[in-house]
Symmetry: C2
Subunit: 424 residues, 2 copies
Amino acid sequence: MDRETLIARRRRLLGDAPLFYDEPLHIVRGEGVWLYAADGRRYLDCYNNVPHVGHCHPRVVEALTRQAATLNVHTRYLHETILDYSERLLETLHESLSKVMYVCTGSEANDQALRIARHASGGRGIICTNLTYHGNTAAVDAISPLFYGRVTPHPDVRTIPYPDSYRPRDGLAGAALTEAYLAEVAAAIESFAQAGVPFAGLIVCSIFANEGLPDVPPGFMERASALVRAAGGLVIADEVQAGFGRTGQMWGYELMGFTPDIVTMGKPMGNGHPVAAVVARGELIDAFRRDVMYFNTFGGNPVSCAVAAAVLDVMEDEGLIEHARVTGDYVRERLGELAARDERIGDIRGHGLWIGVELVHDRGSREPATDLTRRVVNTMKERGILMNRIGEFDNVLKMRPPMPFAREHADLVVDALDEVLRAL
Amino acid sequence: MDRETLIARRRRLLGDAPLFYDEPLHIVRGEGVWLYAADGRRYLDCYNNVPHVGHCHPRVVEALTRQAATLNVHTRYLHETILDYSERLLETLHESLSKVMYVCTGSEANDQALRIARHASGGRGIICTNLTYHGNTAAVDAISPLFYGRVTPHPDVRTIPYPDSYRPRDGLAGAALTEAYLAEVAAAIESFAQAGVPFAGLIVCSIFANEGLPDVPPGFMERASALVRAAGGLVIADEVQAGFGRTGQMWGYELMGFTPDIVTMGKPMGNGHPVAAVVARGELIDAFRRDVMYFNTFGGNPVSCAVAAAVLDVMEDEGLIEHARVTGDYVRERLGELAARDERIGDIRGHGLWIGVELVHDRGSREPATDLTRRVVNTMKERGILMNRIGEFDNVLKMRPPMPFAREHADLVVDALDEVLRAL
């Protein structure tokens, strides 16, 4: 079936559901870091973080098949898989983060995290950044201003400017910049007090991914957490994009130097299988469980836990966290070579295999090159390389390939980007 | 590992997550209508509706494996599986219900249904019954009073008494009873108007499953829907428990004689794989898609759609809808024989393989035999048969086995129930 027919059929059945690229791709197969289209063409996948250990990793498929053929049922019977996995997962987190609740998606995880924070604090008011996206339930949509022009109308939500050191407030830098952003947190807390909205806490993506992976001013998250706690709130780290080693550390909060009260995780956790979780300080989970009848039919079932365990197995056996750190550094180093001869590469950011390249008209003005970025993404796709863009001005090339992405793939991407930038 | 050790480990890792039975079961394998415990004992499963076409059905496992080994990725690339499945699914629904949005759980489906109803109506106020449960997100929790003592504190929610003909209001019957319950709907709509809360709609489980499967007074849902629409609201049918043929018809709303504006579905859809959906009148989906950036990373991915398609294949090839109707009637007929000699069987209700048996002290008083029901459930478990209980007084035996449940299994259950009731 040709592309136009597929698009028309899709519109008839699904409405205007989002598609990537000016000319959408018809993908039929995935393997490792490669995606294959219906026309036989292959694409190097620099975009998809969900197939974390590689598209269709045979060990993950094997674990999925084995458990699905044995037992797939809810968690109100005893089962060892959920316990074995929970033990392994919790060992990777700060010791205070000691109990886990399973859900199926990052949106569900953040929705329950909000419920837990509001339950524990007795408050309602939540602070988030002005450019974040945490998911799609009604409650989570209220803390996801990304698609709403940087305003959020909900009375229980205050947004703060994301901590940005590339276009810093008032030209500040270092400790002064940290203070400036901390003042925003304090002002949001004060605003809730003024409005008579009891405070519940702060939620951030630990690496501010949708905000364009800014270099966060030093000490910001640790001190913001202290402000939040002093006001009776809880700190939620959304690790749905940051977690599971992509940054070169298991969790983004380690990289950012703070310890959250609640952590949410999802996307890469099951390599595409819908499994996600909320981990929190044990007493928060205990109190929530005591007062709230929470149950999730699919969450934490034996298949989900077997798949999630296989993902950890592959990460360990293939040394993927260290690999992400080393390979990501190599990509940034090679991008630095391009930047040395191209003024339009304004900034190269990120951690491990979470890579952001900010394109600008020139480094002096730092004026966002939004249209150039769009053309780069589409031209790279024409050359067989998939990436996307993020950030306040949609001018940050976003690369977060499956974790087995290697040096040879990095060379393909950077060489292609070099040629594309020269031609545009 | 023995049961006490597992329970202790579980409490340490998960907190006080719910478990079934006074002595929880340690289940390790499932096949068809049977579950197998770690001690080798097998249990006839009369409880689990999620493994819809039978535990670990080989055709479902095969579809899961094949697609998971080929491609598992989000829906922003074109893929035929989602289109083929959507076409088949929509063909089973009323022609006005013409577009579908995929999610991963029933909770997510109901959360999006509320968002769509509120978006389309411009209102906030939602009516639900006083004994319903629609899921666990913050928004859906507000319309799930089941676990909160029949009150719901949220200002945007009004509860109505569920339509009950076994203990009817004021001893009414027939058309007069229908009028009495319709007056409750009208009063809830009026209450929103008085409070200045713009009205958004009504949500019900089409067969009022958590309410104990009451015999709904004639014409109630059709006329309630008309009242809701006349007030500018939308009608949401929660088919997460009712749908996919268990009642002997594909959708519960067909059985109840009304046409909803929005339908949600989940549990049985993927035989345990986390896939769920919202289907609605096409213009509602179009308007929502136009104004709201909705995307679900896992929802509708090729694996979910391949699994859901395999479920429909098995349902068709094994004739499971007709089978559920015939077998359910047989179960109720055999239960009728028990009732003829046991006064404590107050009422036998349900549709197809959704079966409710209300236990009372005697038929004159209709006084709920709640403790007896608890003992029956636990004793049946000791005899190797799994069921549970529901209803306002937790005195309705709840049976909703995997759909391949056959006459021979029905005989095992009814004979055992006969002996258990005689002994208690």
